[in-house]
């Protein structure tokens, strides 16, 4: 019963943490708003981290580097088109170049078979799928037993694997704040697979 809740929480917390390390303003400003005396959890805050908008972009951007595009029209979503180009591809390339061949377990071997151009579409698709599946359980959308649609244990495992892969790739970037040393990151990654 708690699988979807845990899975969705894991995704939201993990991706917010990674977003905060890339774009600290986004997370720090939300913290400041929550410290204001007039902040109340009963009222929806426009500054809250939104899955659509902050993690996934609202829409695809064509012609990313058009000269007349203003900064406010450049999505800063974690899995958005701009971060794909300026962050994720380079991070992934650094990761596959830095991890010794015999380290990282089966998950790392799978990552090595993905191209730098393919990594973010893959992460987007998987994160969208797992988040959507978890959300259906959270919102009690099912009028028939949720177990007919998914195995919550597997969903949680999928969420864990996804978060681990995203975190490992992000950690490999020099632009990431509070990086773990590479060796420590790989050891964490390997332990999760046992």
């Amino acid at each position: 019963m708690f699988g979807p809740f845990l899975g969705r929480s894991l995704l939201e917390v993990a991706f917010t943490a990674i977003l905060g390390r890339l774009d600290p303003f986004r997370v720090v400003i939300l913290r400041e708003m929550q410290l204001r005396p007039d902040y109340t959890p009963e009222r929806r805050s426009q500054a809250s981290i939104q899955w659509t908008g902050d993690i996934h972009a609202e829409k695809k951007v064509d012609d990313l580097w058009r000269a007349d595009r203003s900064v406010k029209d450049m999505t800063r979503a974690l899995f958005g088109d701009y971060y794909e180009q300026i962050f994720w591809r380079g991070a992934f390339q650094r990761l596959v170049d830095s991890v010794p061949e015999d380290r990282g377990g089966e998950w790392m071997r799978e990552l090595r078979r993905i191209t730098p151009e393919g990594i973010l579409p893959r992460l987007r698709l998987e994160s969208a799928r797992i988040y959507s599946a978890c959300s259906k359980g959270v919102h009690h959308e099912f009028l028939i037993p949720p177990s007919n649609f998914y195995d919550a244990t597997t969903l949680l495992k999928d969420a864990t694997e996804l978060v681990a892969r995203v975190a490992l790739v992000a950690n490999a970037s020099k632009d990431m704040l509070f990086q773990l040393p590479s060796q420590e990151a790989i050891e964490c990654f390997e332990r999760l697979q046992v």
């Binding site: 390339q93 170049d97 015999d102 071997r109 078979r113 730098p116 393919g118 579409p121 597997t154």
Partner: protein, 498 residues
């Protein structure tokens, strides 16, 4: 009427889809990583299962279907496995393709529901099929997984677009579609985005994976139990032998079964040592792998001209890797070379000559490329002396090594170019004479002289003629019974389908 059925016996069972459920369970084994793949096939979400020829795509799909209803009546998911090896699907497109496809799916669902009171309305178009399957999900109270095998055929890319359109349309919150593809399938039509509309799951068996040796020992034990009783020359042990054979064929199940069969067909009192293993690898190279490129060629449609450059690439890589340090097991190919000749490389991957291990790795002199593991059967041919010694065995089993790099300029691949695909090419295999299907190393299910004579006398002179014959027409022929018809279907399937 005398039957040919009992005159020949086929010892090799290569195709999972030819097994009944009990035989399937008896012969097939799965590693922990294979189980992960099966879990993804059972789970919700669209999946494309990618693997080369003989890698076990069908076996994994069938194993997944056997975890679902109606096979397991209490399962919360209803699975429909369907092989799309139907010639009319290859010859049609558009509305005609859609109608045949929907009819096949409907018929399969009806046969699965045969012993239940659940109703299903057969459909002949995608919209009706979508509705019918959604109703079925509601009536059963179960999620639906559709497992499509052999949907893709690069010799006939028009039908690929039709199939993936339907794949995308049928996928919903209650229906998950899964399909097998192989390296070389790159045209998914205009509406299907392979990055966003499905997860590609690759079948990969690498010797570094946990349980690799154990898997191949289990398969050897299930299919060739006599081998476990054979003497193994010291310092070898049977699990090391099994693991080495598995590694040699890049983890490919069909290649492994052929390798074991080569050993079993040899003198039964001969111990299994380095010379036996070496001879087995060399025979596989000569009798299976190189002929495979000839076998595959007439199926490739407009990509037939890519086979010659594929051979040239293979020979260049094997020469270079064989000469260096007595056989280096992997090659790192600059991505500019790959982008110049993608199809020949995909053909080599499909045929099991090479297996991609890394998509993007830095070369020492700059640039990035893909790293491939090399089939050891073929590599051994190019090692000086072409002999498997104990030193070479240990080196290939246990040593880490750098890949041989192939740069844009100066490498043996630099001078090879890929021609343009043919315009308006058809599936040549259908026009080939039926003699092509003669029993051979390439076609262990193949036809005998007598079978070929009977077919020709009946006016069925090409592979296409045989593939179009109905079971009733074949049954009317002298000396042809149920088992022979099955055998004919099997060899035609192998010949026509990828």
């Amino acid at each position: 009427m005398p039957q040919l059925d009992n005159l020949e016996s086929v010892n090799l069972i290569l195709a999972a889809e030819d097994c009944g459920p009990e035989e399937f369970a008896r012969l097939h084994r799965f590693s922990p990583n294979d189980q992960r793949v099966i879990n993804k096939l059972v789970a919700h979400g669209p999946v494309l299962l990618q693997g080369g020829r003989g890698s076990g795509k069908s076996a994994l799909m069938i194993a997944a279907s056997q975890q679902l209803a109606p096979f397991v009546p209490s399962a919360v998911v209803f699975g429909v496995y369907l092989s799309l090896r139907h010639l009319p699907l290859l010859r049609t497109s558009g509305k005609e393709y859609e109608e045949i496809f929907c009819t096949l799916v409907s018929n399969q669902i009806l046969s699965l529901l045969r012993d239940t009171p659940v109703q299903f309305e057969p459909a002949h178009d995608v919209a009706s099929l979508q509705y019918a399957i959604a109703s079925l999900s509601r009536d059963l109270g179960k999620r639906i997984v559709l497992l499509f095998d052999d949907a893709a055929h690069i010799g006939r890319e028009a039908s690929l677009g039709d199939f993936f359109d339907i794949f995308r349309t049928l996928s919903s919150s209650t229906v998950s579609c899964k399909a097998t593809i192989y390296p070389g399938v790159t045209n998914f039509g205009t509406r299907f985005d392979v990055y966003n509309d499905a997860t590609v799951v690759e079948i990969v068996r690498e010797e570094e994976q946990a349980g690799f040796d154990g898997l191949f020992t289990d398969v050897m034990s299930a299919r060739f139990p006599a081998m476990l009783g054979r003497e193994v020359a010291s310092p070898l042990k049977i699990d090391r032998v099994a693991g080495f054979l598995g590694q040699s064929v890049l983890g490919n199940m069909r290649g492994f079964i052929f390798a074991c069969n080569e050993i079993v067909e040899g003198p039964p009192d001969r111990s299994i040592g380095f010379s036996t293993l070496g001879e087995t690898l060399l025979r596989l190279a000569t009798n299976y792998y190189w002929p495979l490129l000839e076998e595959v060629s007439p199926k490739l449609g407009k990509y037939i001209p890519m086979v010659d450059p594929a051979k040239q690439i293979a020979e260049a890589i094997l020469r270079e890797c064989g000469a260096k340090n007595s056989g280096r097991r992997s090659a790192l190919v600059h991505r500019e070379i790959m982008s110049r000749m993608p199809k020949p490389f995909e053909i080599l991957e499909y045929a099991g000559f090479i297996a991609k291990r890394e998509s993007s790795r830095a070369l020492k002199s700059g640039g990035r490329g893909s790293r491939f593991a090399i089939n050891l059967c073929l590599l051994l041919e190019h090692v000086p002396g072409a002999r498997l010694t104990s030193d070479l065995f240990e080196k290939w089993r246990d040593e880490k090594e750098e890949p041989v790099e192939f740069h844009v300029r100066g490498s043996q691949l630099a001078g090879i170019s890929a021609p343009q695909p043919l315009e308006n090419a058809d599936l040549e295999i259908l026009n080939e004479p039926v003699d092509r299907l003669y029993k051979s190393r390439a076609y262990p299910y193949g036809l005998t002289d007598r079978m070929i004579g009977i077919l020709k006398a009946d006016g069925r002179v090409t592979v296409g003629d045989l593939s179009r014959a109905t079971d009733e027409e074949l049954d009317r022929l002298d000396y042809v019974g149920e088992a022979t018809i099955r055998r004919m279907r099997s060899v035609v399937g192998q010949a026509v389908w990828m």
